[in-house]
Symmetry: C2
Subunit: 242 residues, 2 copies
DNA sequence: AGTCATCATGTTGTCTGACAACTGGCTTCT
DNA sequence: AGAAGCCAGTTGTCAGACAACATGATGACT
């Protein structure tokens, strides 16, 4: 029951702790890029855990692209660590997951996505976007939660860019955002009386975005998307720099 | 030497194969979100591998946020799979890593980054950007490879946004891009005679971006950044939709 | 002496078996 | 009926062993 004991055995999974410590060492360049790590045996005795735990931690590091192993040779830090995956919450050190900064990134991509959608949309794309739009209208009329329809609308636009990376990044950011966004809608629901009015405004902005995309007007699509997102930030109570 | 043999044992590591198959099943929603996976034992006998291999594959899936395990209960698919990390090369199925689409994404973020940098840059930020600029000039004058200075210039702008997510995403995209970009510079070196002229043009665009950021003119910064990136795409021989 | 095959050693990859920690449902006792 | 405790099942961890592979040293042959 010594207090120092808890510092080692507190986190549920040993492999998580090993992962975190190794990640920290790599981030601090205590293990320099391209350098070789200690052997699994050495790490195991060093951390006082079994080799299986070390291997699991290394597997996570490999998955994130911080380490690569060569059978018979050893484990090495990647020249450009972290080159395989992008995470909002960097391993261990959480930068607060602030809504404003994430939303700014989302807006940057979404504005451009609207522009590309205007250029490249097919008839099928337009149909999908329209479907999201009408679903939103129906939800609004029924007084239901329109967030799902909102998702579909934006996802359809992302798909219309025909750029898989833009589409997948927006999916990723929305996934990270959905929890807080649900919460925000609830806040609006409870706190703000003119919730319905806000939604009607959002819907009007959606329609203007859609019109620009239908017209194939890239600049207008970007402008409308930007306006929609800026206003959405205001509606969600997120600070916005213009 | 039978051909069927290769289909099973071609990927070096068994855990990679298991990871890929499981990932495929999850992507195809054969294992639905929120659903429970078979036990490690069952997976082991099903894949005809040891439980250690299965555990390593599951560790990768956990690291990417597709699966979460509850000790004593089992392993479950996340409600929103893939919510923890964004990768350009989706697990196994490589979407060709096409330069155009990645560059489009990079441009979207970098244009917005220039805008935020114009709004938020401190004196230290301006000094860092200027340092990258002068380094580029020196490299250009010395006839050296200016790609490193170019990196520093763009990274300094990304840092000036004071938005860690935008900065880190640009770092990530540049890391993915650096290999192909180095190649592209070489192509320019060999194929195009007016390589020096192209670099001078790029440098002029950089200076205009910098001037807009110094002036704190968000719209001008965005405009110059967009123009720079569009022209960079042309210089690199990447198709560009305007 | 120089070159090449061979081997010894060390490292990662995989297998096997076992036990600890924990969960959830079931039984059993009051 | 309600609550306590037990029990099978599952993940987490440990230990030891062997296979696959890489690398440098050793030795044989030209």
């Amino acid at each position: 029951m010594t207090p120092t004991l808890s510092s080692v055995r507190r986190l549920r999974h040993l492999s998580d702790q090993v992962f975190q410590v190794l990640m920290e060492h790599i981030s601090a360049k205590r293990f320099p890029p391209g350098g070789q790590l200690p052997t699994e045996q050495q790490l195991a005795v060093s951390f006082d855990v079994s080799r299986a735990v070390v291997r699991e931690a290394l597997a996570c590091l490999k998955a994130d692209g911080f380490v690569e192993t060569r059978q018979g040779s050893g484990a090495f830090v990647t020249q450009k660590p972290g080159g395989k995956s992008f995470k909002l919450i960097e391993g261990g050190s959480a930068p607060a997951l602030d809504r404003q900064h994430i939303f700014e990134l989302r807006a940057a991509v979404e504005v451009e996505a609207a522009g590309f959608a205007a250029l490249r949309r097919t008839e099928a794309d337009l149909a999908a976007i329209r479907a999201g739009l009408t679903a939103m209208t129906d939800a609004l009329r029924a007084g239901a939660d329109g967030s799902e329809a909102d998702d579909r609308f934006h996802q359809a636009i992302a798909a219309a860019t025909h750029n898989p990376h833009i589409r997948r990044l927006l999916e990723f950011l929305n996934r990270q955002f959905s929890d807080t966004r649900r919460l925000s809608w609830m806040e609006i629901e409870t706190a703000g009386e003119p919730a319905a009015a806000k939604r009607r405004n959002a819907q009007r902005e959606h329609e203007r975005m859609f019109a620009a995309i239908v017209a194939g007007d890239k600049r207008a699509a970007r402008r409308e998307a930007r306006q929609h997102l800026v206003r959405a930030m205001r509606r969600l109570g997120i600070g916005v720099d213009r």
